[in-house]
Symmetry: C2
């Protein structure tokens, strides 16, 4: 029977530390108001929820959070202008472009993300930061997407050594799967990346000492695919119908939690697993950007 | 019994195509002399051999190759200055900083590589280019290190479909293992990366439909580790003593070729496998940089 990793409690601990770090930064630099700007295009309901969470946690920690809300008619040029204005504003330390960009105009997402100043790139989505993470390196990488940082933190909380273990990452998005694989490789795991084209996913999952899943398919990973004693980190957030709830739905992960928890050594629940950690690391990354301004930050593009 | 992939012959074919492409570029832009600059620090024998090869092949194809040779006493500032001079020179299209930097002064390699203009980064070693490769993307990535491009070309020459196959990359350097894994992932292989901390390398290798090895250990991968029918790409270049040779040594790969060729479906020899492809793709990358100047290149940093 697995220990359930309590993401909510762990994120609260982190929040206390982040609050102290923010207070210290403000005490040392009285003119500094560490600020995160979130650019949203359109009016997606799910984006609104995520942004509200970031604002709430950011403000609780002591950050200023600016919500730059652009209409559904926004063009690529408009978003780029908005980002560049934030790049040039010394009062803004971190910038998030909330995805997906919900516009009736064609907008090339990759172009917009590469417009963010790499030193203000809270989400670690600029190619420079993705490359710093992808390259072998002693020491810490620069700015890394928050969700994989959260997953790594949860794995570390188990006390299990990562080096030498077989880590399997299912999913290969730019904000979860791919950077997760890089983080685990930097920590000396043997890393496999699976996706929708993988031939025999159950067999690969069965060989995983550490399993991180981010595919967006409710309860997809079966309990009998899990290697006994594995660490299971479930990033999935999927709404399924549930007549017993007032909203008529509830959230589940990508892993069949009930079955997997009988086999795994550690497992994250959904909700209350990876989600709260993601928000904590968004705040941590913003603080890192603000702290870097007061020294000479390592993320300045040459 | 495996088919032996003849890297020398395949590279010669590519060279004919590259020569034609170079001639066409020069015909269309009469003032353009596609130019590669190679910066070398110190006097390492092996670096001299690699640089000679690049000059020879580059010139055979019709490129101008400048060798910028700096002394063993070169400082980090000196190398950075040299690179920036080349960045600012419109007559230079591609820049290679030959590694390792052989100086008596401390030089941070990563800093030097990130000084190269991303649009002139023939070796694909700037973090921006590494990030473009590491991020999911439709279409081609920008500038990618030549050795993994050569390996991928060899795999494609087998005619075997990559998508869905299990590809195992042994080694995780910035110029071979890591970008190789990215290229295979972009082609929809399920990709595993192994290294010196991998717990059970033979077992992992046995599960590989496609095996790429780049570890620098003579004949390390045993024949009975190879899955029957696997494609085996051996990047290793290792000198071993051989009394029958005038030089007293000969070159072997990282795979026990004699044993592996009885099990694999396709295999590369050493020498004459990956090596010649690497040089061909150095030339191809330089040409890509020169061609990009004549349109608006996709690799300009914003
Ligand atoms: N907890 C948090 O804070 C966060 C949670 N999430 C959640 O994580 C999940 C994944 O999101 P995201 O990373 O953005 O993923 P994407 O939706 O961008 O990509 C999904 C990935 O899963 C792969 N995949 C889809 N179906 C299968 C399958 N049947 N077998 C194996 N792989 C499959 C896809 O493969 P292919 O590449 O071949 O298409 C793709 O790589 C979602 O539920 C999302 O809500 C995301 C971000 C933050
Ligand atoms: N054909 C060509 O044109 C080229 C050939 N090469 C050759 O390729 C080989 C590798 O070079 P390069 O990529 O620069 O590699 P590096 O020397 O930079 O790194 C070697 C890699 O191999 C891993 N490794 C070392 N020992 C073992 C082991 N026992 N089991 C598993 N993994 C191991 C290391 O792991 P860890 O990270 O844990 O230390 C490391 O990732 C060399 O022989 C080199 O000469 C290189 C470039 C071009």
């Amino acid at each position: 029977m697995a220990s359930v990793l309590d993401g909510t409690a762990i994120a609260q601990e982190l929040q206390v530390q982040l609050k102290a770090r923010t207070a210290q930064l403000k005490e040392s630099f009285v003119d500094l108001a560490p600020t995160l700007a979130i650019v949203q295009v359109g009016d997606r309901e799910d984006s609104a929820v995520y942004i509200r969470n970031k604002i709430k946690t950011g403000e609780a920690v002591g950050l200023v959070v600016r919500h730059v809300h652009l209409p559904h008619s926004t063009t690529e040029e408009d978003v780029i202008d908005a980002v560049q204005t934030l790049n040039n504003d010394p009062g803004v330390h971190g910038i998030i472009v909330q995805l997906p960009l919900d516009s009736e105009q064609p907008i090339d997402e990759a172009t917009v993300l590469n417009t963010i100043s790499p030193s203000k790139d809270t989400d670690g989505v600029h190619s420079f930061n993705a490359g710093e993470l992808a390259k072998k390196g002693s020491g810490n990488p620069g700015l890394v997407p928050a969700t994989p940082l959260g997953c790594l933190h949860l794995i570390d909380r188990t006390g299990v050594q990562i080096a030498g273990k077989h880590a399997v990452v299912v999913g290969r998005s730019n904000i979860v799967g791919r950077p997760m694989a890089q983080l685990l490789l930097r920590r000396d795991a043997t890393v496999s990346v699976a996706h929708s084209q993988t031939a025999d996913l159950p067999a690969l999952v069965r060989s995983a000492d550490i399993l991180v899943v981010a595919i967006g398919k409710a309860n997809f990973i079966q309990g009998d695919w899990i290697k006994p004693g594995a660490i299971v980190i479930d990033c999935g957030i999927n709404a399924v119908p549930d007549a017993t709830k007032k909203t008529g739905r509830r959230l589940v992960g990508d892993v069949d939690f009930a079955a997997a928890k009988d086999v795994a050594s550690f497992i994250t629940p959904v909700p209350g697993g990876v989600g709260p950690l993601t928000v904590a690391f968004v705040v941590a990354n913003t603080l890192k950007c603000a702290e870097a301004v007061t020294h000479s930050g390592p993320w300045t593009l040459r």
